[in-house]
Amino acid sequence: MSICGYAGKILRLDLATKAATAIPTEKYRRWGGGHGMGAALFWDLCKDKTITDGRHQANVCCVMTSPLNGTIVPSAGGRCEVVGVGVGMYPISWFTRSGFGGRFSTMLKHAGWDGIVIEGKAEKPVWIDIRNDRVIFRDASGLWGKDTWTTQKEIWQMVGVPRGTKTAWQELARLDKDKKSAKDEGRFTQKPAVLTIGPAGENQTAHACLIHDAGNGAGQGGFGAVWGSKNLKAISVLGTGSIRVADAKSLIRARMVTKEKYVASSERPDFRAWTRLGTLPKPIIQVPPPTKDRRPQSCQGCINGCRTRYNVGYGNESACQETAWYGPYARKVAKNAAENTEINLKAADIVQQYGFNSFVFQTGLHWLEHLYEEGVLGPGRKIPSELPWKEIGTLNFAEKLVHALSTKTDIGKDMADGWVQAAIRWGREKDLETGALQFSYWGWPEHGYDPRAELEWGYGSIMGDRDTNTHCFNQIFTSVSAAFAFAMPIRIEAEEMVNLHARKLSPYAKGRPEVLDFSDGNMYSEAVAQLVRWQQHYCRFWKQSALFCDLKWPDFYNTNTPDLQGATASPDAGEQVFWNAVTGDKLSFEDGIELGRRIWNLDNAIWVLQGRHRDMVHFAPYVYQTKFEKGELFPFYMWPCRDEKGEWKYTDLMGRALDKGKFEEWKTTFYRLEGWNRKTGWPKRSTLEKMDMTFVADALQAAKRLGEEEA
């Protein structure tokens, strides 16, 4: 088996004993990389898989790369996957995942490591200093209490790397004055790649992030709290090595094809191209940029950066959700658009520096404001809070709110274990029934893609472990709804849209466009179950193990090509082309989906050991009891559906609730298709053995949680 694309070893850290050892990557090669390898490492090394809070000392956190990291695979070179038991979910914090971009995974591989396994708890705060093969446990007492940006800058200084650019080559061996060896370890011009927690993580609060550089964050999962519970402040990596690829010539050619064929040309710009991979560089920020003096900024190897750096001194590298969490409030107090932008981007800086996952504010802050306006929350009220609620919308309030939630002060004390937990503590369970608190699944907020409308998002989240945050199909909604909202041309009509998808939905739904029909008559169908399966399996391998970026892949349709076909699964620049060029494998696109199925099954086995049963797989009550009436982005939710004549049309999906009974039937269908027991949702031995996962079946049987075989 080829080891091209891999560094060859995985770093295992025991924080309790300050031991650093190496695990041969070859042992876990069958799982590909990223999530697959991380889940397999967790399976082997976590001795108590019944834990339900990631702050438990038995928890094992894996930070994993992919063979594609640090290469030129478009929008796959810079992602990094984090797995372990999470924090802040409800009713159980599952074994879960998060991802972040930047250059950490590249540097880690160039330092000679395919991943890091973190076990145990350090006696005192530590940070880890990795310089190629040398791994040093360093005292973090001087860093504890500092924000994520200050921490990184101080670590750069401690490592001996100057700030700024136009810096000279440095010799790695000479950085360490205590080092006796005279071996030449190579030179570098790059900054150490640092992954760190801020105050939110140190205080082990729910929804604490891991932050790298200014704006790369592993948000969901609460892994910042996991690190905090282990007294781990940061990991810094400097690498001067390299990664050999199997077929560099093919890799370069495929990358060129991607640029020339699938990406919008700057010479003949199509500013409104419908594609995920091939847009022009337009950073995803939710407010007008504060200045034109800026650049696009990207992760390692990206085909088109989604972030930006400005000359104004704020908002650098923040994108998407973190630039919008404060939007509804800032615009109430801002005197003009410029001030609105400034407040929003500075609010983004605040969450980055505290290492706090602003995603929970998306629907959560509406709830807190509602409680304040209802007279329940505030100074001297039932839920006491001394935060300046009258100033909501100001930067001062944003800072104080994030501070409180990051330091377990004020209402942060009650919210440290999660928002749904806080609602229960405050006697506000009814808010999950009315929808005042729109935390749809597993204690996570609704994403703006409501489960009553965008089925694959909601169904995928509840069948998994978290808000799925996988945009495989979601751009249909955003592209089409935006076209309707702003009277822009519909670039691809509904029937062609679903057919373009169906061509690439191998193996479960190839040639079956009906899997995308989210109309009332089809929303609980076997077809939709196949779509959800495809998404979960695709993502578990191609997106979360091979680490193709969620914002760029899969590319189903692409108006930059004459036949509108996107790069996904294509013979010239599909995912499998890049994987094979790097690793030397002969993997088909469908082989990758099958690998994803195995990884998905391993995840489900861990959830089952943690206590999952189909009886607990439910959305929050409001999803069944109230209709979806108010969209986060648009006043309608456009999606391709078949009408009564069977003709495809873009249709508004607002105005409906999920039928609980019918959703239960859909779950049965889903379990049947997955080969899981329909009554319990537990994997069956026959299913696992067909995937060469007998060891999983044995473990489930020993725990008396193996799914019964069915006719």
Partner: protein, 229 residues
């Protein structure tokens, strides 16, 4: 003094010369036609140069990895002949710097190469006089690295083979899959997703460092809301 219009392909500037002990070796290396009257050897001008747009680079490092891949089949920051430096906590435009070899007219890295009788670092007359290091001849003294007047040095140290290396405009790129060099493809130019690197046969003003920094932003860039200045 160096009017770009006066510097035709392969012409020799009399300011760029070598004297003394290295003359014979250099003549052997680059050809007798480089011997000027009075036994002065000159370094012929490179016929190709890389230009960069410091405000357009997105810092993806694709050029770095592609450079290392095209030359050696490995992806690496350290072994890339182009270096993109970034400070995530600095503001635009000081947050990114693109360090490319300038194929200098006076080529201090060539001048200082002590290898005799044939220099390891020399213009390659078969490929437009690109300043190249023949790693079979390189003795690993690193004099060329020290001689490069720019920071970071545009000549790199390859610690694995203990030899120097530098940008050759992709002349020696066994993994590129197409001809490189001044008449062919430069990997970084072709692969850059933002087209922030370009190739020119016109020698930039050697007295002005900024002459290698150009504006490659077309009209689309302005329409995307980014500076054209």
């Amino acid at each position: 003094m160096h009017d770009e219009k006066d510097l035709g392909r392969g012409r020799i500037s009399r300011r760029q010369f070598l004297r003394g002990a290295t003359i014979l070796g250099f003549a052997l290396a680059v050809g007798a036609d480089l011997i000027l009257p009075g036994e002065v050897l000159a370094i012929p001008n490179s016929e190709g140069f890389l230009l960069v747009d410091l405000k357009k680079c997105q810092g993806c490092g694709t050029c770095m990895m592609a450079c290392a891949l095209a030359h050696t089949g490995v992806a690496s920051y350290t072994f890339s002949r182009i270096q993109i430096e970034q400070d995530s906590f600095a503001n635009f435009p000081e947050d990114v710097f693109m360090a490319t070899c300038r194929q200098c007219q006076d080529a201090p890295c060539v001048e200082v190469c002590p290898v005799e009788p044939v220099k390891a670092n020399k213009p390659n007359e078969r490929f437009g006089n690109v300043r190249m290091i023949d790693q079979k001849l390189c003795i690993g003294c690193q004099a060329c690295i020290d001689a490069c007047p720019y920071t970071p040095s545009r000549v790199q140290w390859n610690h694995v083979i203990e030899r120097s290396q530098k940008c050759d405009l992709c002349v020696d790129t066994p993994y590129l899959g197409e001809p490189g060099g001044p008449g062919g493809t430069q990997t970084c130019v072709k692969i850059c997703p933002e087209n922030a690197i370009s190739f020119t046969r016109t020698m930039p003003n050697q007295k002005v460092e900024e002459s290698y920094f150009v504006n490659l932003r077309g009209p689309a860039w302005g329409k995307l809301g980014m500076t054209m200045e």
